[in-house]
Amino acid sequence: MKYESSKPIYLQVMDSLKQRMVTGDLRPGDQLPSVRLLAIEYDINPNTAARVYKELELEGICFTKRGEGTFVTEDPDLIRSLKEQTAKSIVKKFIKEMTGLGYDKFEIIQKIQKEGDENDSIENGKTD
């Protein structure tokens, strides 16, 4: 994984794990890799990997069963809200960039509408 230069590495790994939970790559109740394996998978230091799990636990997204390992939360609401958060931040970022280009709210909505319609027709075309 490529890391951004100014953001702490543990936050970037946390984001990556959250992303995987939201997309369903990691499902509620799934066991997560051990600290060492997480470190190897992400090419990070084991202490950083341990911190990732600690912070995720504080957020309630993970929990540790003693002697067994770390697991993704079984609470679907938490995952859903994680999804909401992710969606929100994507939209926020999008709006910020569009505003930067000089579009106002209605124009942005129009654009999305149009893009969405085109997408639909492509999708329909495929299924035909």
Binding site: S6, P8, N45
Partner: protein
């Protein structure tokens, strides 16, 4: 727990200091980056700790003050250059380490050799530089040492082998040992390190926790490195 400590450690060659008054502490359970361009004193520093150079001045304390000979059984130093006898094979190198180091784990060595895609009957003479570099890591990391010192472990290594070497290092990192890696390939090492120590002309110019340093300066260690050595 501090496993290695240097106080005003100095080495001069012909009156010119290669390492000058370096104070450093290395704690158990952490990975340290000894960073700086070639000629900044990284190798000299490591060689003094390993007992290949004697310090001109200053002090080295290994664990709770082990003797020079005793500390060699606790320190696993990997030089940059291939350092095996030509007559040996990959297997003999393992035998040699087993004979001289109590903490050497032959099973681990076997695993590492396989992982690095080497075979026991390979002759040292016939190894390419990349293979020799992999063998160095394999044999060094097959010890259960308290202090690992790897001098430029990624030098002359292709991308695939790079990942393997990094994995071997991470696998060995444990709460009871400290790993010190010297490198000038900062961008690759960056995510691996707990602590960084920048050397410039033999002096310490920056040291601290890697994440804190990134947060405080708002830039990566690699960017910071470019600034310091520009």
């Amino acid at each position: 727990m501090i496993l290695l400590k240097t106080e005003k450690l100095t080495k001069t060659f012909g009156g010119k200091p290669a390492v000058y008054e370096v104070d450093a502490e290395f704690e158990a359970g952490k990975l340290y980056g000894l960073l700086g361009p070639n000629g900044s004193g990284k190798t000299t520093f490591m060689k003094m700790v390993a007992g290949l150079f004697y310090p001109t001045a200053g002090k080295i304390t290994v664990m709770d003050g082990l003797s020079k000979t005793a500390s060699k059984s606790k320190v696993a130093y990997m030089p940059t250059e291939p350092f095996f006898y030509d007559y040996m094979t990959v297997k003999t190198v393992g035998d040699f380490f087993k004979d001289f180091y109590e903490d050497f784990d032959p099973e681990w060595y076997k695993e590492q050799i396989e992982y690095m895609q080497l075979t026991p009957d390979l002759r040292i003479r016939a190894l390419s530089s990349g293979m020799a570099a992999k063998l160095k890591v394999a044999v060094t990391m097959s010890r259960r040492a308290s202090i690992y010192m790897l001098d430029e472990p990624l030098n002359g290594i292709d991308l695939v082998a790079r990942d393997k070497i990094i994995t071997s290092i991470i696998k060995r990192s444990a709460p009871d040992n400290t790993i010190i890696i010297s490198s000038h390939l900062i961008d690759i090492m960056e995510n691996l390190l707990d602590e960084v120590l920048f050397l410039k002309d033999g002096r310490t110019v920056l040291k601290g926790n890697a994440e804190e340093t990134r947060e405080k300066n708002g830039k990566s260690i690699a960017d910071l490195y470019k600034e310091v050595y520009a």
